[in-house]
Amino acid sequence: MKSATLTQGGPGRARLARLLSRREYQSQALFLIILVLLVLGAIHVAAGNLEESSGKSGFAFLWEKASFELGESLIPYSAGDTYFRAFVVGVLNTMKVAALGIVCSTIVGLLIALGQLSKVLVISRFCRGYIEIVRNVPLLLQLVFWHTFLIRGLPTVRHALSPVDGVFLTNRGLYLLSPVAEASFVPVLLALLGGAVLAAGLCFWHRRTGTIFPFWPWGLLVTFLPAIVTMIIAGAPISWDFPELKGFNFKGGMTISPEFTAMLLGLSLYTGAFNAEIIRAGILGVPRGQTEAGLSLGLHPGQVMRKIILPQALRIIIPPISNSYLNLTKESSLGVAIGYPELVRVANITLAETSQSLECISIIMLIYLILSLITSLILNILNARTAREAY
């Protein structure tokens, strides 16, 4: 039977026939056909529905004028700019809160992890309790709570709370003193840079000659002394702009909106609890013998931590923690619920205004997909490097 099909047509047709007679190829072909039919059907129905609602489609609307304001933005934006610019503002706001959130959540995670590993029982139990509670309450609830607290619990501008000079907590936002560069800013900065380069050079030279350049006190001294000397000669490089109550609001300094504060607080505390578990697992994952071996070779505890424990712990920590960073970036989309103008919020307002749902949602998905891809790329490079360093 098989030989009969083989001899019927040319070798190409025979091969095709043989392929088609195998079950796995039949099932794959069937799957593809059904998938294509479903997609075509969906497109057909969607086209009909769109025509019915006389909606436009395509991304041309991005160059039309948007009529909404956004609470905060890193680039100048106001109503009347294009939708495209609004989306750029959204992406920048997402990146801003994600970047700061990643830094803060790592610090929170490190502190809680070290607390949990502490020999002091009360501290370790307290940190355990923090993790158990914060991890088990939805992030959205925490965000909404912080936001409500910041706009309802804090006093009005007139009765602003000022725990430290130059810091005002009000229900309209945080007012902080902001640094202003003086004339001596550039020379002091250059001196600092020069000191750092010198210290790095000395460190490198010592390493080549096989000795260790002590960080304390020489490293610090070489790094900071030039800057301090310049400062004494040229004066302080930075002065502070204090916020002052003028009329109905504060002028000067910088303002941090309650939405941004709530986002940063919520994301850092929530993701921090997850990071704490990851960091703890990483530190515990390095066998105790490594510490003992390092100490018995005559290294300081600090050197053991830096040169032996940390590089090995990082190898365990980096993959899960970068996943956690990615989660934080995606979870910053919850800003839509409290009015922080990040990507999803901008897309949501645009969707309501232009009713171009298909386009807006695909923009959200595309940008997050790109962010995910970039993160996993960086992760892979980092992972490869830590794996290589180990050998």
């Binding site: 529905n49 309450v137 997050y368």
Partner: protein, 361 residues
Amino acid sequence: MSELVLARAPWWRRLYAELTRSPLSAVLNIAALIAIVLVLTPFVSWALIDATWIGSSGDACPVTGGACWAFIGAKLRLILFGRFPYEDQWRALFGAIILVALVVLSLNPAFWRKWLLAVWGVGLGAYGILMWGGVFGLSYVESSLWGGLPLTILLTVFGVSFGLVLSVPIALARQSKLPVFKTASIIFVEAVRGVPLISVLFMASVLLPLILPDGFTPGGLGRVLIGLVLFLAAYMAEVLRGGLQAIPNGQYEACRSLGISYWPMILKVILPQAFETVLPAMVNLFIGALKGTSLVVIVAMMDLLGAAQAALADPKWIGFYVETYVFAGLIYALMCGSISWYGRQTEKLLRDMRGNSNDRG
């Protein structure tokens, strides 16, 4: 020696020994304890000592006083059940209990038998009758009225169970040697895992009506469920893939040499072992799903968080948001905590079972 003595000492003696292991540690413990007490005292006095427990409106609670639990008392039914018809709320309660019971049963590997499917069928039937009504003298309740804690439980249980069912073929396809299935699975899983849940929910609630013909579009609840199931399925498939990879090749080879064909091998040999390996990760996903259901608030549904926010809108009670969110957060924390406790118990049970069978073999 002292360890041996301590092991038999009462717990307070052991705790004392642990706290005072060295003079330094004793001092640090006391300092930490004092710091924590100082931090927690205002909170405890707010929550318990200065709190108002009884009252019929916001005037009962002094502005500068402690927590106003009277508010929670007055709004309890609204927070817990949302807009479900008041006299019929017992139905939502029983429905939720049925779902929880089904999950508790299913999480135990000892019950992974065929009759479990029958139990699920009966349970879901009873659940549908209770929630929708319209028969046996029960009045009809539209699904848009379902809300509060029962809605949170419904979304979680249905999202997780359907997601689990859907995740099996996706994970198998990703393991498969057939390029079409493998590619489709990779694209689906990576695309869903790369975007936030809220965008999937938006897509489900905005896009589904667009691409489905008129009359086939599910209601708001159905659309949200579809989005949730697709989202969870991608994550579960990824977890399950890890479990499938952990299964030694010998298992497949043994099946082949015994002449067992593909599907019986997968269903009876491979999947039970894979699920056992990934149980802890699945429990974590379960907790994530429970927390994730709170996002349906953003697409205008009233789950536990949404109902809590709705309770805050009463002009007779202004400004008791801390109490409300603490209460709702406590419910979430209790639910998630008990799931993770149950997961740990099951894990221990499984480890003991496996340890015993290894001893015998």
